[in-house]
Subunit: 359 residues, 4 copies
C-alpha cells in the first residue's frame, strides 16, 4: 500500500532498485496531450546517477519505454505505463547487506515491517524508485506549461553550511544547469562542488536544502482543509528519500517576525490582486493566491558512506559495516529534479480538481 499519489492525476510507482525494472502508471492524464519519450527523457537524464563527478558513479541507462496510453503521439486519457529496465545490478556489492543492517538506511525497518526485504540494494527505499516520479512529473510539467504557462524551477540552495543567494522570482533553468551542483549562485556553486568532492574522497556524505519556485500558478488551487496545497506539497517532498524537513514561504524563519511584520499587504496590480511581499509563499489558507509558490526541502546527508560503522546483523549480533565501492556523496543536485517532479505532480492534480469542482 501507499504507492499511489494524487487524486485525479494519480501515479503509482513500482519497482525495486535490483528487480527487473522500475516504472510508473499515470492514471488521469488529460487526453490529446502530445507526448513522446523525448518529453520525458530530459528530466530522467537530469535525475540519472553517474551524470557528473559529484554524484554516484553508478550507471543506469534509464531509457524510458512508454507501453500504453499514447496513440499516434497523443495521450488517450487512459493509463500511461512507463518503465526502465534495471541493468547495473552488481549485487555482489551488496552481499554484506544480506546479513547487516546499514545505519540510517531502511534495512531494519523494512525487515521489521514486512519480515522480508530485498537486500540487493535499497529496494523501494532506494533513490532508484524516484525514476517513476520524475517520468510522471515530466508529463505533469508539460500539462502545466501548455495549459497554464506554469514554470517550475528547483535548485540547490544550501549544502551543509554553504548557502546560496538566489532570487526565486527571476532564477532561470539555464542558471541552474550551468554547473554540476545545480546551484544558480555561481560563486557558491564552485565552493559546493569542492566541498562535495572532498566528502567523496573522504567516503563521507553531505546534506542540504533544495529550494523550488513555481511561477505562473493559477489562483484557486488547493483543497482545504486536509488537502491544502502546502499539505500536499509537504507530503510529496517528505515522501522523497532522505527528506527530513519542508517549509513554504517564510517557513521556520518566519517565526522571528511579528504578525504586523509578517502579513503580506494586498494591492491592486491592475490585472489582478497581488501582495507586496510573499511571506505566504504563494499559498493562503491552503489555496494558491497567484504569487510565486516558494518551498524548501531539507535532505539529510546520504546514509551510504564508506567509513566503518557500528551496527548489528540480522541475528542481533554487534558488528561493524565497512562500505565499499561507489557512493553518492551528495544527493542534492539530483534531488532538484525530484523536487520539481513532486511539485508538478501536486499542482497538476489540484489544477484538475479545481476544474472539476469549481469551474
Amino acid at each position: 500500500m501507499g504507492n499511489t499519489f494524487g487524486h485525479l492525476f494519480r501515479i503509482t510507482t513500482w519497482g525495486e532498485s535490483h528487480g527487473g525494472a522500475v516504472g510508473v502508471v499515470v492514471d488521469g492524464c488529460p487526453p490529446r496531450l502530445p507526448l513522446s519519450p523525448e518529453d520525458i527523457q530530459g528530466d530522467l537524464d537530469r535525475r540519472r546517477p553517474g551524470q557528473s563527478r559529484i554524484t554516484t558513479q553508478r550507471q543506469e541507462e534509464d531509457l524510458v519505454e512508454i507501453l500504453s496510453g499514447v496513440f499516434e503521439g497523443q495521450t488517450l486519457g487512459t493509463p500511461i505505463l512507463m518503465l526502465a529496465r534495471n541493468q547495473d545490478t552488481r549485487s555482489k556489492d551488496y552481499d554484506e547487506m544480506r546479513e547487516k543492517y546499514r545505519p540510517s538506511h531502511a534495512d531494519y525497518s523494512y525487515q521489521a515491517k514486512y519480515g522480508i526485504r530485498n537486500w540487493q540494494g535499497g529496494g523501494r527505499a532506494s533513490a532508484r524508485e524516484t525514476w517513476g516520479r520524475v517520468a510522471a512529473g515530466a508529463v505533469a510539467r508539460k500539462i502545466l506549461r501548455e495549459r497554464c504557462g506554469t514554470e517550475i524551477i528547483a535548485y540547490v540552495k544550501q549544502v551543509k553550511d554553504l548557502a546560496a543567494e538566489v532570487d526565486p522570482s527571476s532564477v532561470t533553468s539555464d542558471q541552474v544547469e550551468s554547473n554540476i551542483a545545480r546551484c544558480p549562485d555561481a560563486g557558491v556553486a564552485e565552493r559546493m562542488i569542492a566541498l562535495i568532492e572532498a566528502a567523496r574522497k573522504d567516503g563521507d556524505s553531505l546534506g542540504g536544502v533544495v529550494e523550488c519556485v513555481a511561477r505562473g500558478v493559477p489562483t484557486g488551487l488547493g483543497e482545504p482543509v486536509f488537502d491544502k496545497l502546502e499539505a500536499d506539497l509537504g507530503k510529496g517532498m517528505l515522501s522523497l528519500p532522505a527528506c527530513k524537513g519542508f517549509e513554504v514561504g517564510s517557513g521556520f524563519g518566519g517565526i522571528l517576525l511579528t504578525g504586523s511584520q509578517h502579513n503580506d499587504p494586498f494591492y491592486n496590480a491592475g490585472d489582478r490582486i497581488r501582495t507586496r511581499t510573499n511571506r505566504s509563499g504563494g499559498i493562503q489558507g491552503g489555496i494558491s493566491n497567484g504569487e510565486d509558490i516558494v518551498l524548501r526541502a531539507a535532505f539529510k546527508p546520504t546514509a551510504t558512506i564508506l567509513k566503518s560503522q557500528e551496527t548489528v546483523d540480522v541475528h542481533g549480533h554487534a558488528t561493524t559495516l565497512q562500505g565499499r565501492g561507489r557512493h553518492d556523496p551528495c544527493v542534492l543536485p539530483r534531488a532538484v529534479v525530484m523536487v520539481e517532479a513532486m511539485t508538478a505532480l501536486v499542482l497538476v492534480d489540484h489544477y484538475l480538481r479545481q476544474k472539476g469542482q469549481c469551474e
Copy 2:
C-alpha cells in the same frame, strides 16, 4: 473536497466558524472501544479559546455531543459523529470583512477559488475547524494508548526567538500543563508568557515552534513510498492553520552534519534492536523503527492583528483595515493540542493499515 484524512481510520471534518455547528465523522474506528464524552472533552478544553489570558478571549462552549457510533458505552465500528454548536457568533465584529480582504488570511484565496466565502469569521480557514480534528484525535489517542501503550506529548518549543530546552524522551504532560504557555521549560515559559502578553497589548502577534514526541510507537508503521510515516505526519501538520514548516528528527538542522556524524548506529538492547542516537526521529525509510518519533511544526504569527494594515476591498480598491475586538496573540499553546491530535490520527491510521496488510 479535501475534508477527509486517513485511509482506514478516516475523519471528515465539517463546519464553518460562524455556521450552525462544527464537527467530525470518524469512520473506521475499531469496535468495542469504551468511549464517552469525557474521553474527548479534556482535549477539547485544552484546545478551546479563552482558556487563559494569553489566548484569544473568544468564548466557545465546545461541549461535545456524540450522535452515532457508540452504544452502551462502546464503539460499534460504525461512523462516530461528534459536534459542537456554534454559540459566540458576534458577526458584527466581522462586518468589515464583508468588503475587505484581511492580509495573510484566506479571504482572498477562498473568494478566488469558490467565488463566494463566509465572511463572518474565517469559515473553514478558521482555527475553529480544528475542533473536529481534536475530537477525533482524542479517540485515536485512546486506541493507541490502550492497544500499544503509545504516549503522545506536544509542547511549545519556541516563541519568536525564545527557545526552550526540553528532553523529548522524558518530558511529561504535567510539565506541559504546568503553565499557560504549555512549555515544559519553566524558566523560558515565564518569559514566553511575558512576550505574548506584550504582543497582545500591542495588538500584534507571535509565531513559534511546537515539538511533539510519540513514545512507545510500534515498529513497522508507515507505507512507502508515498504514505511514508513522515510524509503523512507532515501533511497532517501542514494542513493545520498557520503551519508553514515541518521537520522530523534532525530536520533542517541535520544538514550541518556529515553522514558519518548523522547516521544512527544500531545496537542490540536485549529485547529489541535500537539506535544509539535518534537523528532519524524514530522513522527510517518511512517506517517507524521503535525509537521515539520526534517532530516539529512551525506556526507563523497569527494573521489577525489589531494594527492598521494596507489591503484592497472586494471591488479592488486600495483601503486600510483596522482590526478590532479580540485577537489571539499566539496560537502556540492551543496548537499543541492540534499537533498531538494530528500525530495520533496518523499513527492510528498506519497502525490499522499495518494490521491489515502485514499481520
Copy 3:
C-alpha cells in the same frame, strides 16, 4: 470503513436507526449553488416511513437541518452537514432482538464482524440509514438539473409477479406520484396496492423491481475500466438495504438475443449521433452515450415479518421469533426515492470527474 461514496462529490453517511440522529456530510459540492432545506425536504418526505397505508407506520419527523456549507442561501464549496434527530425510538419493541438473531437481517453478521451491535433496531443496516443518501441525492439532482437539464425518475416496475408496462422515455414524475404504489401504470398500481395490503394483513412482506430512467445525461460520463458508469451505478444500488440484483439496459433479458439482434445501430439525428434502439441502456464501454440511462434494481421481500420464525439466540440456542408491532410489507414505493438518489449521486460525481479530466 465503507461509509463514503463518490470521488469528487463525496458523501459520508452516519447514524444508527436508534442513536441520536442520522445524517450525511457532502464534500465536493460545487460552490454558489442556491440551496435551502426546501430543496431537500421534498425527497425526504417521499422517503419517509408512515407516508401511506402500504408502508410501515413507524413515524419519523425527518426534518432536515443544514449545519454547514451553506451561506446566505448558497453553497460555499465546503462540506455540507445535514442531519435529522431520531425521535420515534420505541426500543422496547426491540427487546427480543437483544437476544435473538432475526432471520435474513444483519443481526448475526454485524455481531460476527464487530463483536457488538446496536440491537435497538437495525443500526446501520436499517433503511433509516438511507436518510442521508436521499438528502445528499437531492443536492445532486439539483446540480444535474440546473447544469445539464438531467431528469431522473424511478418507479415501481414490479411487485412479486405483478409487472407494470412503463415507457421510460416518456414517464413523468406526476404519473409516479399519482398513487401510493409509485407505479405509473395505474391499472397495475391498483393491483399492487391490494397485494401489498393483503401481505400487511398477513404479517408477510413482498419484494419487487424498481426501474429508473435518467434523461438528458451528458455524453462522456464514466471512467473505465473499474469506474465504468454501470459499475458505479450497480454499486450504488447494491449498497441499498435489501437490494439483491441490478441490471442496465437489456440486462438479464438481453441474453436471449443474438448479437445482430442486440446491437444498437447508430444514426445521425442531426444535432448528435444517436442509436435506433437502446439495449445498451445509455452506456457503452462504461461511458454514457447520450441516450436515456435505464436501470433496474431488485429488492427482496423485507426481512421483518410478523410470523413466527425459526432462529437461534446469541447463546446459540434454537428458538423462535415472533415479530410484533409495525412492519413494512413492501419497501418498493420508498425504495423509488433511494434509487433516484443513488443514480443522481453517481451521475453528479462522474459529471465533475469528466469536467476535471477531459474538459
Copy 4:
C-alpha cells in the same frame, strides 16, 4: 481515472489491446507469499483467446513477466508489476474502424469522452484489458486459499436460453474444465457448444450467464454501508466488458417469494451458526455470514459480429459496417475466469480490511 480497484489490496490495470503491452500493478499484497509465474499463468491460459474452437481464434502468447515485488520467490509487500507484451496486432483488420463507429462497441462513447481513441482494436474497452485482472486475481486467490481455505469456482450457467443445472455447493473445478463450454452440466454443455458453433458459422454472437460460488469465506467480510460485500462484487462484475447485470443469492428470482418464504432460518450447526437455506447468497446486511457466496453475472452477446450493420462514420455520415476476420461468438467460457478473478479481488480486499479494523 478509474483504473484502480480495491482499498487495501489495490490493483491498477493499464494497456490497450494494440499498444505495447498490457499489465497490472498490485499494491498491498501481504509480504512473504510464495509467488512465481506458474501461480499466475494457469488462469491466464484459461482467459486466453484461441484456446478452443468456440472462442475467438485471435492468438495471444500472454506469458506473464513479473518485474517487481517478488524476491527469492516471495512477495516483498511492495508493488507487484506483471505484464504481457502485445504480439498479435493485425491492425489492418481494424482500418475500417478508424472511420466507422462499431454498433454497441465503445468507439463512439470513447471518442465523445476523450476526443480521441485507439481505433486499432478496442483499446481499453477490449477484453484484452482483463489480462491484468486475471493476473492479479490469481494472486488474490492464492492468498485466500492459503490463509482461509477459500475456494472460488465460476462456470457457464446459461447461454442464450440454454440453462444448466448446477449445485453451487458441490461443483468442482474439474467438472468446469471438463469441456470447452466450461459448463459443469455435461449434457447442456454439449448443446451449448453446438449453439455457439452455429453462431460462429453464422457470424453472429451469443450472451449468457456466469455463476460463481465462493466456499469457505470467513464471516465478517464487507464494509457497510457503501462497501457492502455485494456492492463491491457487483461493481467488480459490472466493470467487466459486456456485463449488463448482476445478482447475488436469490437475486431477481427472489422477488417472486414472500418474506416468510424467502428468509433464511438460523440454526446451530455445532461449530458455527448457519442458515437452513441460502437465499441471502452468503451475505446479510452487506457482510459475509459464512455460507457460500453465490452470484451471477449476465453478459450480453458480444458486439463484434460478421454481419453487415447500420452505423455512422466519424464525419456523421450514414454507412454500413461489415465485420471481417475472426470474432468471438461467445465470451462466456472465458468470462468464467474473469468472474473468478473479480470475486477473488473483492474478497481479499475485504479480508485485509477486516483484519485492519476489527481484529
